[in-house]
């Protein structure tokens, strides 16, 4: 809406940002400057993701420091908020309205006139594959449909910036794939997107630029690959099940990068400093057939491990 995004400006930034609710500190001395088409906001429950999102969408005033979108403070900034779309995590409101009424009403709150809001609401329903549910009461929609409707209300007025809080939650694989495609299309067109998620692989599908929050502090910022490399500097754990776990463990311990092997019944956990080489080796051993490897699972390919290693 209005002016286009200028690429020279840093899209999302914070300097010494802190937010506390009474005695509880939600965010503490967070500073970042990030400019990417899509930025992922990662963190476990209570990390401060929602507080940061609320600060970026002008719902909260910082207790200390400064937060800005395109160099402007969002709190009370109606010009900025008119160009922003926000998809909240919660979806239990106005269940008696139809999908169309819901979108039309919320689009009008951006200042769009009634006729324009009606057109935009229908377009947003179409984009999110909800045309068939247009006149259906929200109460009767499935969780995945509600989720798409929430995204639709954020997209309907064609914002320059999108802030999405857990947009993939409750969606089936097809819905996720479609959502990922839609977000990429938006970003390719010039819309800047910040989305939060608990799940690393969901974010990886849409972006490689992330902000990682933990206990109210910024834990990491940048490309996921770089953060992955940080993990790889620590011993990487791989769980295997095989018919001869002892012999397999003995074989793996011959290699320098294997730091440790734990054996229990027919399974073993290998700790390696070179996961890529180790995966290749295990593949070769499996093909050779002598150890009858039944399954292989990386225990460190998740966000929890990222936290564990980075917090250390």
């Amino acid at each position: 809406m209005g002016a286009h995004v200028t690429m020279n400006d840093l899209t999302w930034s914070a300097q010494g940002l802190a937010k506390w609710y009474g005695q509880v500190i939600a965010l503490n001395d967070v500073s970042f400057e990030i400019q990417a088409p899509i930025v992922g906001l990662l963190g476990p429950n209570g990390a401060g993701k929602s507080s940061l999102i609320r600060l970026l969408t002008g719902q909260l005033r910082p207790s200390k420091g400064r937060v800005s979108v395109m160099g402007q403070a969002p709190f009370g900034n109606r010009m900025l908020l008119a160009r922003m779309g926000y998809c909240p995590e919660h979806d239990r409101f106005y269940e008696q309205l139809t999908a169309y009424q819901f979108l039309e009403m919320l689009t009008r709150l951006y200042g769009v006139e009634a006729a324009g809001a009606a057109r935009l609401a229908d377009e947003a329903l179409s984009r999110l594959d909800l045309t068939k549910q247009r006149d259906q009461v929200i109460f009767t929609l499935s969780h995945g449909m509600r989720q798409r409707l929430k995204v639709a209300q954020a997209l309907a007025h064609q914002p320059d910036w999108l802030v999405l809080d857990e947009p993939f939650s409750g969606m089936d694989p097809i819905g996720r794939a479609k959502m990922i495609r839609l977000l990429r299309q938006q970003a390719e067109g010039g819309c800047r997107i910040l989305l939060s998620s608990h799940v690393l692989h969901e974010l990886e599908a849409v972006t490689s630029d992330i902000l990682l929050l933990h206990q109210g502090r910024l834990l990491a910022k940048g490309m996921i690959q770089s953060i992955r490399r940080l993990i790889d500097e620590h011993p990487h754990r791989i769980a295997l099940t095989a018919k001869n776990p002892r012999e397999l463990g003995r074989e793996l311990l011959k290699y320098e990068d294997v730091a440790r092997v734990e054996i229990e019944n027919d399974s073993l956990v290998v700790e390696t400093r070179s996961p890529d080489a180790c995966y290749d080796r295990i593949g070769e051993l499996a093909l050779a057939g002598g150890f009858q490897i039944k399954s292989m699972l990386s225990l460190d390919d998740n966000l929890e491990s990222v936290f564990r290693y980075l917090v250390k």
């Binding site: 009403m105 324009g116 064609q158």
Partner: protein, 283 residues
């Protein structure tokens, strides 16, 4: 860009980002979608729709009485105090109307997290409040202002001794009184609604306040002989104000007291809302 195949008449639509190039409404009207949602929500309640019908029964009865009294003077109908009696009845209905529209107006938004959606948009706190208040006011005006105007018009047309000045005086008084009721009931129900996330609880508190305070105000003012105690009840001060304006009973001093009472109640209601929603207050 959209891709079009002219042979097959097929078209692939571009679902990517496009900046909005339509016209924008004035920010001053941004409260209206909020009010419309509240009214739409209330309309879905069958008891609300029934109340709307019931609200016009007294009007029909009073109109019939006015016609009988004017056309058949031999039938001795006591038409003294017609306006206060009519107004008291409409106020009673306004209490129910306020309940239906306003009981969950703020509490539901607090419960469901809808406030985050409102205030992530370019909506100010006052626009939000105005939207909620307007919805209650439309309902209250529907059972006070509109029937009042119709009754005034009916009296003017039916009663041979009424004149234009008298008619205009009734209309002005009804408009003023209705405005007071809308302001007062609207702010109080929004304050009550902001205190609890459960609509039912807000409704119970609203009716308890109405009954208990009305009974207490009337009882104490009668027992002590001090009419100022009617200020305790947001219902009774409206009844007394109607008597003052429509019947000319009382004088300047009671009028000042009643005006002060309205201001105190409104300030209290607004303060409660402000405290409860302070996190969302912005320009």
């Amino acid at each position: 860009m959209n891709q079009v195949d002219s042979n097959n008449q097929a078209e692939i639509y571009d679902q990517g980002y496009r900046p909005f190039d339509g016209s924008l409404a004035s920010p001053s009207t941004r409260f209206w979608p909020i009010a419309m949602r509240e009214l739409r929500q209330a309309w879905k309640d069958k008891w609300f729709r029934r109340l709307l019908w019931v609200a016009y029964i007294p009007l029909v009865v009073y109109c019939v009485l006015v016609v009988i009294s004017a056309r058949f003077p031999t039938i001795n109908l006591n038409m003294d105090g017609l306006w206060p009696k009519f107004w008291r009845g409409q106020l009673f209905l306004a209490v129910f109307m306020t309940y239906f529209i306003g009981r969950g107006a703020v509490g539901e938004d607090l419960r469901t997290g809808a406030l985050t959606v409102y205030f992530s948009r370019p909506v100010s706190f006052l626009q939000y409040l105005l939207g909620k208040w307007s919805a209650v006011s439309v309902g209250v005006a529907g059972v006070t202002l509109l029937p009042g105007f119709v009754l005034g018009l009916f009296r003017y047309l039916a009663e041979p001794d009424s004149n234009m000045m008298q008619f205009l005086g009734w209309l002005a008084s009804i408009a003023f009184l209705s405005g007071l009721v809308c302001a007062l009931f609207g702010l109080i129900i929004l304050a009550v609604s902001s205190l609890t996330r459960r609509s039912r609880m807000a409704g119970i508190v609203w009716f308890t306040m109405f009954f208990v305070l009305s009974a207490a105000a009337e009882g104490i003012s009668e027992a002590t002989g001090m009419s100022q105690f009617v200020l305790m009840s947001f219902f009774e001060i409206n009844v007394k104000m109607a008597e003052l304006l429509l019947e000319g009973s009382g004088g300047l001093e009671p009028g000042l007291w009643l005006g002060l009472g309205h201001l105190i109640w409104m300030a209290a209601g607004f303060s409660v809302i402000l405290i409860r929603l302070r996190r969302w207050v912005r320009m």
